[in-house]
Symmetry: none
């Protein structure tokens, strides 16, 4: 490889990527086979293979054994507004959006008591080992699994109250803000931490994706007068959603 040039497999990958971006290779169409790439670009088998691997790692194409390598249709990620002002009704980060989405949304959930892990304890500012109510959610949209959520609430706050179980009783299924208001806890702040990482095999199994693909992780904490009253991790495949934050500037 002469000085100043990039490796052959990156050059080939770049050319194919350009053709995909330009629409010359439309979604669902087949990439040239490895043999064709080899011939068209005058490169070896290895280079053609590596080039395909690069595009697969970038999520632009998808290999189907025995059939071919196909251009993936990248769904425009759906914007989800996170102003905070309208979080009423949102126990999950996206529940408001689920409700607004035309009634197609549904969810399953299950709660159990457990002891706070060090991580959860730090987020709720309680002691590790303190009792918490953990609730797992699986949100669907049109029957398709779209989002996982795990919520933790300190039992010292909600224990022996009507809202101890987030999804049961007269206020079951309502948002954190409403449920806390019912026990005279006024939620006034919301802290969200956004991160991304490759999806774990278990998560992607449930969500119907491929292990290793990007997921967005929103760690959300509801605060009442500076005290954390609920915290949750929300996991969504990154190609389905994008989060929009609207911030005032002074």
């Amino acid at each position: 490889m002469p000085f100043g040039e990039q490796p052959a497999y990156l050059r080939v990958a770049g050319d194919l990527r350009q053709k995909i971006a330009d629409g010359v290779l439309a979604p669902h169409t087949r990439l040239p086979s490895q043999a064709r790439i080899r011939a068209e670009y005058g490169v070896s088998d290895t280079v053609a293979l590596e080039a395909r691997k690069v595009l697969m790692a970038e999520g632009l194409v998808e290999g189907r054994s025995g059939s071919g390598t196909y251009v993936r249709e990248l769904p425009e990620p759906r914007p989800v507004s996170r102003t905070g002002y309208r979080s009423a009704g949102g126990s999950g980060v996206f529940r408001q959006e689920q409700a607004a989405g035309g009634g197609k949304g549904s969810w399953e959930s299950g709660s159990s008591q457990e002891e706070a892990s060090p991580q959860v304890a730090r987020r709720l500012r309680i002691q590790p080992g303190d009792r918490v109510m953990r609730t797992r959610y699986l949100f669907r949209e049109g029957g398709e699994p779209m989002m996982l959520s795990t919520s933790w609430e300190p039992l010292e706050l909600t224990g022996r109250t009507p809202v101890m179980l987030p999804e049961e009783g007269p206020l079951g299924g309502l948002g954190v803000v409403e449920r806390m208001a019912a026990i005279d806890v006024v939620v006034d702040n919301l802290l969200e931490e956004v991160a991304a990482r490759p999806g774990l095999a278990e998560e992607m199994n449930v969500l119907g994706g491929v292990p290793g693909h990007c997921v967005l992780v929103v760690s959300r904490t509801h605060l009442a007068g500076g005290r954390p009253v609920e915290t949750a991790d929300v996991v969504v495949p990154a190609d389905r959603y994008r989060l929009t934050y609207h911030l005032p500037v002074r």
Copy 2:
């Protein structure tokens, strides 16, 4: 490959991954060289290479040409506060943090005029083909490339003013808010869209990472009285940062 077994390179990678997780191979220590892997596991050169590639793609190890393959220390993603109120000084999403980080941060940039692409035009609410000033940034921290940013400003707004070039003149290097204030444009809102996707090969080459790794993409738009005056894409490897948003609840 006999039935029910996984490929040889995955078996080798799995064993090495276990040793890393168990601490047998501590951070900053060297993995067995390709030749040693070949001998120890009784596999071919290719399998040893593929196994290393798997671990590199997972971000667990890092290859240094001529030296060896080293176990990476996984950095706790650094929180970056995005309240919006203190965005003064932030031309890049993270510049405020760069400045606060103890002076280790530095950046390169380059500007050029071009015609707005349909995507940029939509974000700036101008016509495709209208002239814009595009500025690319590469931010470093301690010499290490950490973040890419591309900013677009409509020349209809800044053309023939002292702030046309974001990084030159007396206000060069200051934030969007300050520069716009100098031409009597009062930025009052900030819209941020957070998404994640696999990093492109070119991006990760510059950022010192591996193609296919998660990157966080922040699409930020500064607004003045509802009118977009600047928009930018910020790309960071997802394992380096997490974004924290503090939202009031009503």
